[in-house]
Amino acid sequence: MDLSFTPEDLQFRDQVRSWIADAMPAPIREKANNGGSYGPDEIREWHRVLHDKGWIAPHWPKEHGGTGWDVTKRFIFGEELVRANTPSPSPFGLAMVGPLLIQFGTDEQKQRFLPKILSGEEQWCQGYSEPNAGSDLASLQLRADRDGDDYVLNGQKTWTSAAQFADWIFLLCRTGSSGKKQEGISFLLADLKSTPGITVRPFLTLGGTPAFCDTYFQDARVPVANRVGPEGGGWGIAKALLGHERTGIGGIGQSARWLALVKRIARETPVGKATLLDDPTFRRRAARLSMRHRVLTMANLRTLAAAQLGHAPGPESSILKLAGTELLQEVTELAMDSLGHAAQGWLGAPDEALRPFERSVASEFNYLRASTIYGGSNEVQKNIIAKHILQLPSH
């Protein structure tokens, strides 16, 4: 057991750090320094910058465009991105459908999709939840009826994050209705932009932005060649993906950014002749969250290290989702408290009226109430832990 960085690791860290400093386009750097939130264009731009450098998918196998870094280098790279407060590229292609295609896709599918996931040329979204299939995902009803070389899709997906910006959707649909409900589910890839019969309708969340969409399918034809895995084998693929999803979804890097922002706000906020950061009650809350963040960083490292040894992210990653999102929400709550009256600041306030974070904190605080719900609600994570790790009995 050894957590120290070798001289080579430290050299790598310096190299990454100075590259990020040079590579960040000026408008992004400005937001990174001022605690603003990034829009879809900035996220795409940063995606391109990382891709041009060959650093967009460090966790992918080298032959598919990964960097070939070991777990230490990946950890260092992730920490440096957080440190520089860069935009985070969308996870749906890079972290979710990409690794899944590498694991389960045909050669044709890999050649067709992976390069454009890497380049960011095609953006993805996830079609899992439906109005009547949330935590009980296996009860999903989007119908896919076989007709020649196509499936014909009818039904609705919801909570499809960022579908209005996406080119493709990976989705779970029902191709059979006999046997257990998990057995009739298949995994398809659909072209959102050019398939007739697919309609995307964004809706506002508490954050005041259209972060999620309803996606409707009316006689939408998807080629059978776009099925991943066997017909009726979609549930197993979805479960494998949930493991990948949970490791990143704890938002541990996000919490680090928020902690830094909270302290910056507190430092700049006068209280009498001192600042909010000098207030003992506030400091204690911030310190507790910072310490908990350290503990979660270590848990994350242990999961990464296990993955390095070839263990797929298993149910243990549920812990990261559970504790990570709780921490993230607590940090955003502290950020709100740090703002005082400015906590009511909202999107659209004129530039000169408010500091950038006085517009964005409340929006993100509200939006992130979703973090304990998305990716399998925290209650579902507890069910997974109880059943699969602790092996507690069912009724």
Binding site: R284, M291, R294, A299, I319, L322, I389
Partner: protein, 382 residues
């Protein structure tokens, strides 16, 4: 960066686990807790023979040249059955300081026999008013020409009732709260003027109140720099905190395991109570906290050997708070989920509960570590 145990570490873990299972089940602790000494010198000797006491010490002083992590892995196993021999007080606290500060003679006379399990040591650094500030020291040592004369009172001296040698902090200059002016002395408890009163603890272990009334020692009793003990005491107490996190991990694993076993076996309303979702979720939360404690404990153990004081402090404080808060969640719910049986002395869960609660208060409680953490560069730099 690598999290896997080495082959040698795995061997040590296996051998301590076997010892704990076969030779030191919780029943042995139960018997010893009502004895005068509270632990067994024959077992201590055995632990010395196996090399477990000297694991993290250099070979030239009877050690095995291992790391703090090796020691933490041993402590975790010892915690699984509440092994009462004085590992933390004698090896981690006092042993660590003698190794760090001692002269060749002091190491030969104090360290070698202790690491062999022939003797035990204790560190007397707490006073009634000092709480967690090791510099807050009223005990005084006056120079006498050939040596020192010590007077004062030390409390909550872990293993102080049984130790063959006491290491005592005393002020050689300055005022009560000054960081400078505190020194360490090695004292034979049989010296005239030393009085020890054994105090039973809620965890079944013993501490002592040690009063020094004009105790005369020679100049060679000084351990480390005259007047410069505080930073070394802080180092030792930090390693005590890391050791508490390591031992605590063993107790937490037992509490979780025993609670899960109970949930799978106890029936009410005609079903196993572990099938109730309210209890399943509680168990899942307990599991998460135990895992988080484990990672934090490993990081604290790694950083216990760090050159940089602040790096060490940040991780050890984070781990100690995780033990105190996350560990507490596990403790209180282990009792709660056992129901009425959980509050009987007959059930082992209560014994683990009590030991963990003592560990939470030793070497700085959560509030102390939260406040200390705020003053570290790591917090300011975030």
């Amino acid at each position: 960066m690598n999290f896997a145990l080495s082959k040698q570490q795995q061997m040590i873990v296996d051998s301590v686990a076997t010892f704990v299972r076969d030779d030191s089940p919780v029943e042995r602790f139960r018997e010893l807790r009502s004895s005068e000494r509270g632990w067994d010198s024959a077992v201590w000797r055995k632990m010395g023979d196996y090399g477990w006491l000297g694991i993290a010490f250099p070979e030239e002083h009877g050690g095995i040249d291992g790391s703090f992590v090796d020691m933490a892995l041993i402590l975790e196993q010892l915690g699984r059955s509440l092994v009462p021999e004085p590992y933390i007080p004698s090896v981690v606290l006092a042993g660590g300081l003698v190794e760090r500060l001692g002269s060749a003679d002091q190491k030969r006379d104090l360290l070698q026999p202790m690491l062999a399990g022939e003797t035990s040591l204790a560190l007397a650094y707490v006073e009634r008013q000092s709480r967690y500030q090791v510099a807050d020291c009223l005990t005084r040592a006056e120079a006498t020409g050939e040596g020192f004369r010590l007077s004062g009172e030390k409390v909550w001296v872990l293993n102080g009732h049984a130790a063959d040698t006491l290491i005592v902090s005393a002020r050689t200059s300055g005022d009560q709260l000054d960081r400078a002016g505190v020194s360490l002395f090695t004292i034979d408890p049989n010296t005239t003027g030393v009085r020890r009163v054994a105090v039973p603890g809620m965890d079944g272990q013993r501490t002592a109140i040690v009063t020094l009334d004009g105790v005369i020692v020679g100049g060679d009793a000084l351990l480390g720099p005259l007047g410069g003990a505080v930073e070394h005491l802080e180092w030792a107490v930090d390693r005590g905190a890391a050791a508490a996190c390591a031992e605590g991990q063993g107790e937490l694993r037992e509490l979780l395991g025993r609670t899960l076993e109970y949930l799978k076996q106890r029936e009410q309303f005609g079903v196993k109570i572990g099938s109730f979702q309210a209890l399943q979720h509680r168990a899942a939360e307990m599991f998460a906290e135990v895992e988080l404690c484990k990672g934090a404990m490993l990081l604290a153990a790694i950083k216990a050997d760090a050159e940089d004081d602040n790096e060490r402090r940040a991780e050890i404080s984070a781990a100690k708070v995780q033990l105190a808060d996350g560990g507490w969640f596990v403790q209180e719910n282990a009792i709660q989920l056992h129901g009425g049986i959980g509050i009987t002395d007959e059930q082992d869960v209560g014994l683990f509960f009590k030991r963990l609660r003592v560990l939470a208060s030793l070497f700085g409680d959560a509030d102390y570590h939260v406040d200390r953490y705020q003053e570290l560069p790591a917090f300011a730099a975030e």
